[in-house]
């Protein structure tokens, strides 16, 4: 069963060593060997849905008339819902999720949120990212620093623009990568001068300017990571049907890096556009089908590699949306919403009860499961990381894993 996987690992590890062994100094060779070591460590892939995903139109409570009373134009008709059970079903754009659910490779966790909900995108996202901790770093950044500091490249963010606060560390920054192909210093023709430049950029600074220290640290991480990833490149694999989208591309690259045996434990990427205040119907459908198809292709590729047992994908948004739709055929900022997990070690298809559509708080759903207990479960029972320094204390876990 694992022949293919081992073969790939050996050949990739081998090729990395061969291609580096010519002109490259030994210390580099050492690190590159280390990052393609044989590895059975668990991996977490996070897909952030930015903007506030409408949970009610993602996992539709089609068995509840109250849903149809509140969603006069946006409701998904009973016959269009991709049914999960007698009460809930997926938005018709989520055929990818539907198939993964039938293969028992996913869990829906219902009504996830936190007390005293904040309806500002930025504030609420910050809470999810920091796990309600006052320190200025993120929950995954803290995980890296408390438990994965000895790894060479513990976490990578794939995406353009800003790095999510979740990955913020106090010391060594987590690299953000737009695409591997462009991820290199493309300055100066003379290789010798270029190497000297890289050495000068990396050389420690004696400065009391903390900002310079930060830029210097980021540049050092960038140069080191770039050297490590140079051999991988953005090879898209046509065998798996990824959508032609940024998310599809990022997940495909992540799958490829996992296959190559990179020791990275946390990958993070984002799908933006869920802030659907007006004319939600079509834009929400295309977002969900991008999400569903990208995640499905990713899980298929991971399975084909033989890595299904060591990868979990987790997807969340900063909040759900108001139960009642607004007059612009859209929905305003709300509170609790479902989160999604994908993998082979998940215990139940649906975790928790759908929040009541009648017992509301300021027109919004009451949360059932604190997101920090989901984090705790992921950290303790999947990543085997002590959750206390990350989320502050041990939350009772919802029992996501076998």
């Amino acid at each position: 069963m694992n022949n293919r996987r081992n073969f790939l690992k050996q050949s990739l590890a081998g090729s990395a060593v061969i291609s580096l062994s010519g002109a490259v100094p030994d210390f580099l060779l050492g690190t590159s060997r280390k990052i393609v070591k044989k590895n059975d460590d668990k991996i977490l892939v996070v897909v952030q849905m930015s903007g506030g995903n409408d949970g009610l139109n993602t996992v539709v409570p089609y068995g509840d008339d109250e849903y149809y009373r509140n969603r006069f134009t946006l409701a998904i008709g009973k016959s269009n819902v991709l049914k999960v059970n007698d009460h809930i079903g997926f938005h018709p754009g989520l055929t990818g999720f539907d198939r993964l659910m039938n293969e028992r490779k996913m869990s829906i966790v219902q009504g996830v949120g936190y007390p005293n909900p904040n309806r500002s995108h930025f504030e609420s996202m910050d809470l999810w990212h920091t796990a309600h901790q006052t320190s200025s770093d993120g929950w995954l950044g803290r995980s890296v620093e408390t438990s994965l500091a000895s790894e060479n490249l513990p976490a990578i963010h794939f995406g353009s623009g800003l790095q999510p606060l979740a990955l913020k560390t106090s010391n060594k920054p987590v690299p953000s990568i737009r695409s591997i192909d462009n991820f290199r210093l493309n300055v100066l023709r003379d290789e010798k001068v270029k190497k000297q430049l890289a050495a000068v950029i990396k050389a420690p600074r004696k400065t009391d300017n903390a900002l310079l220290g930060y830029v210097h640290e980021s540049a050092t991480v960038a140069l080191e990571t770039s050297l490590r990833l140079q051999d991988f490149g953005d090879k898209q694999n046509g065998e798996f049907k990824y959508p032609q989208s940024n998310l599809g591309k990022n997940l495909s690259t992540i799958a490829q890096l996992i296959e190559s045996g990179l020791s990275t434990r946390i990958y993070y990427t984002t799908l933006d556009g869920f802030d659907t205040h007006s004319n939600q119907g079509e834009s929400h459908r295309s977002l969900l089908s991008d999400l569903g198809n990208s995640v499905e292709a990713f899980m298929k590729q991971i399975e084909a590699q033989g890595n299904l047992d060591r990868v979990v994908l987790f997807s969340f948004s900063e909040f759900g949306r108001r139960v009642r739709e607004n007059a612009s055929r859209g929905t305003d900022h709300g509170t609790a919403a479902p989160v999604f997990l994908f993998g082979s070690k998940l215990k139940q298809p649906v975790v928790g009860e759908h929040p009541s559509l009648q017992d509301l708080e300021q027109g919004d759903l009451k949360f059932q499961i604190d997101y920090r207990s989901v984090y705790c479960d992921l950290l303790t029972n999947w990543m085997e990381i002590d959750p206390r320094p990350v989320v502050g204390k041990n939350f009772q876990t919802p029992g996501l894993f076998d």
Binding site: S50, G51, R119, S120, H121, F122, H157, S160, G161, L162, Q163, P173, P175, S176, I177, R178, N182, F183, R184, L185, N186, V187, L188, D190, V193, Q196, L197, A199, V200, I201, A203, R205, K206, T207, D208, N209, A210, L211, L212, Y214, V215, H216, S218, A219, V221, A222, L223, T225, S226, D272, D275, H277, S278, R324, N326, A327, S328, D332, H333, Q362
Partner: protein, 445 residues
């Protein structure tokens, strides 16, 4: 480094023996109030002194020629759905303008009233908004907010174009208070719902703002404790009456002009907020006070910001009086995290340390190297070799020259000696400049 004293921070900076008016301070002013000066401009500011140099920013320069050209060019590049050509247009304006301060302020307001071309899908509306931001850049904030609330691009971006009384859309009301006027924590969820009711009836008809009285909620609303049958204008007036408003704008201006990392306490920002209040919320005098202050010329400020991608690219081009392939430049700015007219979201670009990550730090060095490599790049209509030949200081000591004019922070002795080891030859200015601009020190402003 001494602590910041809020009592004296905003007093006017007066050069003294301990704190003389140097080339470094003159260059600092020009980097912050625009995109950095040319050598001639820096020398001019050095000779003029701080008071005169700042005063000059607020004198109207004759922009009529470029204004006319840019208006024509702006009309030419707009009309379609996407705003990429308009973004190039704006970058070109930043390079060519005799009033970089005005563009810097316009860019500030673009980040503040962030509106994204990918959702607006109407480059003409984005163009009109850009002109509006420029018009009010240093003017009074209240009419500015009233106008931006009726701006077509903004109406589309924040879904305010279709706000009906039966179930008001809260998006604009929320961002008006959270991001535009007051900041988080200075309003309640009830205020949002009530202000959203004031904004009902807003529509777009024939590409312009229209008020539909049939869709306006004509009942009483209670906003910040005041009750009345308010409309959007009244709601804005009530919002801006809140004590939090001038403080919020003062903090944002301080963050933009002074430093990235230092926390800005209420106490520190209060004098600037007071200046806004005293001047009927006029932006110009507050900015002038910031740019003239002791704090601005202190070690707390010099070299204590990270250049935004636009500042990095435009600053480099303006320094060499250079022109390059502008469409290529704007596409490259995407990988640095800042294409004008395409902010990441309604909160604009967060700036500071967020500009820098592993990808952007490499992309920054690559962008400058790309400009230098590009044969289409012209330096005051000539090539780079000709440009440096006319600057004797570069010929004699390129490192000292760079430290004086190009860097906001000093280079370490180790960096300098490593630079010397590369055997820099004045005949290869491209090599020297791409080497220097890849350094972490070059990212600071």
């Amino acid at each position: 480094m001494s602590d910041i004293n809020p009592q004296t921070a905003w007093q006017p900076f007066e050069p003294s023996k301990q704190q003389p008016w140097t080339t470094q301070r003159a260059a600092h002013l020009l980097r912050r109030c625009g995109f950095g000066g040319t050598i001639a401009e820096i020398s001019q500011a050095k000779n003029a002194g701080p008071t005169k140099s700042v005063a000059q920013l607020f004198q109207s320069t004759d922009d009529s020629k470029i204004e006319k050209e840019m208006l024509q060019a702006g009309r030419l590049v707009t009309g379609g759905v996407d705003s990429n050509a308009l973004a190039s247009w704006w970058l070109l304006r930043m390079i060519k303008t005799p009033s970089p301060f005005l563009e810097k302020m316009t860019l500030f307001w673009h980040g503040h009233f962030a509106t994204g071309g990918e959702k607006v899908k109407d480059s003409r509306a984005m163009f009109r908004q850009n002109q509006l931001l420029r018009k009010y850049a240093l003017a009074k904030f209240e009419p500015f907010v009233k106008n931006i609330s009726r701006d077509v691009a903004m109406l589309i971006y924040l879904d305010s174009e279709e706000n009906r009384k039966t179930r008001p859309n809260e998006n604009y009301a929320r961002e008006l208070m959270e991001l535009f006027c007051l900041g988080v924590g200075n309003y309640t969820e009830t205020d949002i719902k009530e202000v959203a009711r004031c904004f009902t009836g807003c529509e777009i008809r024939k590409n312009a703002f229209a008020f539909n009285e049939y869709q306006h909620d004509n009942k009483m609303k209670t906003v910040f404790g005041e009750t009345g049958n308010f409309d959007s204008t009244a709601a804005i007036e009530i919002v801006l009456k809140q004590k939090a408003a001038p403080l919020f704008i003062a903090k944002k201006l301080i963050r933009y002009f002074v430093f990235d990392d230092q926390p800005i306490s209420n106490q520190l920002a209060q004098p600037i907020a007071d200046s806004l209040r005293k001047n009927h919320f006029e932006i110009g005098p507050a900015v002038r006070q910031i740019l003239s202050s002791k704090l601005f010329y202190s070690e707390h400020s010099i070299g204590k910001k990270i250049k935004s991608p636009v500042e990095l690219a435009i600053g480099f081009l303006r320094f060499f009086e250079a022109s390059t392939n502008i469409n290529q430049l704007s596409q490259q700015l995407v990988s640095l995290g800042q294409l004008p007219l395409y902010p990441p979201n309604v909160k604009g670009w967060p700036g500071g340390r967020k500009w820098i990550n592993a990808s952007t730090i490499l992309a920054r060095a690559n962008l400058i190297a790309g400009i230098l490599k590009n044969p289409k790049t012209k330096y005051r209509d000539g090539n780079l070799e000709e440009w440096v030949q006319s600057h004797s200081q570069f010929q004699s000591d390129s490192l000292q020259w760079a430290e004086d004019y190009l860097f906001a922070v000093p280079l370490s002795a180790e960096t300098k000696s490593a630079f010397q080891q590369t055997n820099p030859s004045n005949r290869e200015p491209e090599r020297i400049l791409s080497w220097l601009s890849a350094l972490p020190e070059f990212q600071l402003c």
